[in-house]
């Protein structure tokens, strides 16, 4: 074991430590938070368990992992019996999760470190149901069951409600009691289903299917009173969640108390905290209808009153218009017009007279001018004619010494042909006449 001088080799020391450690801790349970989780290709799983002050390396060899048989219907450590498949710790082992690990302490000589060789793993503080719940939640979330985008609105004041729950119990009582104060009258058809126990999930899923097949209801109400996680478990079954997910009719779920959330709740189009809350979400309070009705009634009265007032105004306007257009009024207007015209007439006469006088004076002046000019013209003409007459006077040449021969009859002898020799003629001179006898007659 040792050398003569008491000095150990590293290997010797390590072997001594291994012997003591492994002897002291052949099987131990450790609780801690998982960190540094590694799953290399070898299939062995390496991780650390830690708390605030310390950490320990752990290795979970693949051979040990095979002993985690999740087909077993009871837990080999706790004796807990499972209804369905038990969740595998292989799946639940994640960084940050607090786990219980059982195994032996061994020394890993190659690194000079001690470690826990894990044989059994279980989630700490969580029962198998809680683990199964988390598992299914992850799975259904990945399938889009809880997606906000697929949530449908519930009909307001639903008139045809399919109620899926137990025919007896607190849930239906609470729902109907509160519902009685709300809504404006609804046909509710109960589809009885067990809400607890092994048969519950399939009954609920069947009822969901039946309601959808009948296609009568506007909304499905799925409710159950409070209970433990085990009591509520049917609502975490995949078959129920799937039935809710596939329902063509919107689903309102109110399962358990406020703190409880089942997968059916999460899948439903709307989640009520309790069955009573479901009734609140489904129907508006009756007072709300009464208030709406009162408002509408008042609005009707006001509208009619305004309408009548408006008509009355219109009527008054028309009466006014009619008065304006009445024959009496027309006559009065005519009289008024006549009066106005008379006044105008009276005022117009003197103006008209003055006007005529002005025009008369003007014309008189024009006339005078015309006559004057005409006279002038005539005087001139007379003078001219007088002059011409003077020039044409046969006695005129007498003044210049010419003589005028006249027959005895007084005719002017203007040609020798008018006289014969021996004929008595008169010769007129400037200052008198003389008689003469024609001697010879002959041309010059």
């Amino acid at each position: 074991m040792g050398t003569s001088d008491g000095i150990l080799t590293v290997r010797e020391l390590t072997e001594q430590l291994r012997a003591r450690l492994e002897g002291a801790f052949p099987f131990v349970w450790v609780r801690g938070e998982v960190s540094n989780l590694m799953r290399p290709g070898s299939g062995h799983i390496y991780f650390c368990l830690k708390d605030q002050d310390a950490q320990i390396h752990c290795v979970w060899f693949s051979q040990q992992q095979r002993r985690t048989d999740n087909r077993r219907s009871f837990d080999i450590l706790t004796g807990e019996v499972y209804d369905g498949l038990r969740p595998s710790p292989l799946d639940t082992l994640r960084n940050g999760v607090t786990m219980l690990c059982a195994g032996r302490i061994s020394v890993y000589a190659g690194r000079g470190q001690y470690q826990l060789v894990v044989e059994l793993v279980q989630a700490e503080g969580q029962g198998a149901l809680a683990l199964a719940f988390e598992e299914r939640k992850r799975k259904l979330a990945a399938l889009g069951y809880f997606s906000g985008g697929r949530k449908r609105l519930l009909p307001r004041d639903a008139k045809r409600v399919a109620l899926i729950t137990s025919a007896s119990g607190a849930a239906i009582h609470d729902f109907l009691t509160l519902g009685a104060q709300r809504g404006s009258g609804t046909k509710i058809c109960l589809f009885p289903a067990l809400v607890q126990g092994a048969a519950a999930a399939s009954e609920i899923a069947t009822a969901m299917q039946r309601v959808n097949d009948q296609d009568w209801a506007q909304v499905i109400v799925l409710i159950r009173g409070g209970g433990s996680l085990e009591d509520l478990w049917p609502f975490n079954e995949e078959s129920v969640a799937e039935a809710v997910f596939q329902s063509r009719i919107p689903v309102l779920a109110g399962i358990g108390h406020e703190v409880d959330t089942t997968l059916a709740d999460m899948t439903a189009d709307m989640r009520a905290a309790t069955p009573s809350h479901a009734a609140q979400l489904l129907w508006p309070p009756r007072e709300e209808f009464a208030q709406r009705l009162d408002d509408a009634h008042n609005a009707l009265r006001n509208a009619m009153a305004s309408h009548l007032i408006a008509r009355e105004h219109l009527l008054q306007e028309q009466v006014k218009a009619l008065r304006w257009l009445s024959p009496l009024r027309h006559f009065a207007r005519l009289c008024e017009r006549l009066e106005r015209m008379s006044i105008n007439l009276v005022r117009a006469l003197p103006r008209r007279l003055a006007d005529v006088q002005r025009r008369l004076a003007h014309q008189q002046a024009s006339l005078r001018t015309c006559i004057f000019r005409s006279l002038e013209r005539r005087v001139y003409t007379l003078d001219h004619l007088t002059l011409l007459l003077e020039n044409g006077n046969p006695a005129a040449p007498l003044e210049k010494g010419y003589a005028l021969a006249l027959t005895v009859e007084g005719e002017i002898v203007s040609s020798i042909s008018r006289v014969l020799p021996g004929q008595k003629i008169y010769v007129r001179l400037k200052d008198g006449r003389l008689s003469a006898i024609v001697g010879t007659v002959g041309a010059d």
């Binding site: 109907l176 809400v195 009464a290 009707l300």
Partner: protein, 84 residues
Amino acid sequence: MDGTKEENFFEEKMARLQDIVSALEADDLPLEKSMSLYKEGLACAHFCKERLEKARHELTVWQDGEIRPFALEKEAVDTAEECP
């Protein structure tokens, strides 16, 4: 399942009442027409009020493949226990 025809009477009458109010507010109706609308509106309001006062949920149960009337059992309510 029947009864889908009458179920919306309340909402229909309420909607009609609202329409009548809107029509009266529009103020382009002959007086006779508005009077008859007003009367109809009053009748709607009366109907709705009566309906609301009498409003009850009608409870049935799907049992053995048919719809039957259903009433909560008093004991069941009192004990308030879920069936196992």
